[in-house]
Symmetry: C2
Subunit: 101 residues, 2 copies
């Protein structure tokens, strides 16, 4: 089964959109790294929170992607804009509509 990762990160007040831009800037290399889905969302109910929904070929593919130079650079760039409050949920992706076959 594919590996799902649901995460949130809290931006410092007023920095959310900069964090979102950084996250989206790195998406080109993700497909080649085994990423089938990388969706960034926000919510008016909590304006500093950024949601990321990811689906990878495997947990190992996800772990390996964190070692990519561009991923490391994006994390380093975003970190000063974040409060350090993170949540995460790992999932076994059973199936559904819209995921690359």
């Amino acid at each position: 089964m594919r590996y799902g990762y649901l995460g949130t990160m809290r931006a410092a007040p007023g920095r959310r959109d900069e964090v979102v831009a950084i996250l989206l800037s790195g998406q080109d290399g993700l497909r080649a790294a085994g990423c089938d889905l990388y969706v960034v969302g926000t919510s008016d109910t909590d304006p500093d929170l950024v949601w990321v929904q990811e689906v990878w070929a495997s947990k190992e593919h996800h772990q390996a992607s964190l070692q990519l130079p561009e991923t490391k650079a994006a994390i380093a760039k975003a970190m000063p804009m974040l409060t350090g409050e993170f949540t995460s949920q790992e999932l076994d992706i059973v199936g559904g509509l819209g995921l690359r076959e």
Copy 2:
């Protein structure tokens, strides 16, 4: 922006996989109803919980889909297998990899 819906539903002990099968059985009609993503996930850390990650053209498309006969039938079929414990989070989908353009 597209509308994201993140939800969980708790199955009665031992009924999770039946609920998952029902959710996946209804996916064919969703695309036509404006659904770009409908992903079902589970987690070993909470064996009765079912996660659904959805992206729709709009909130209205999502709301309207709940009135579809096949959606109503799937909900009615699954309800007896659920405990009634639901969570949901609405999102503005800013962008990312893997979503249908």
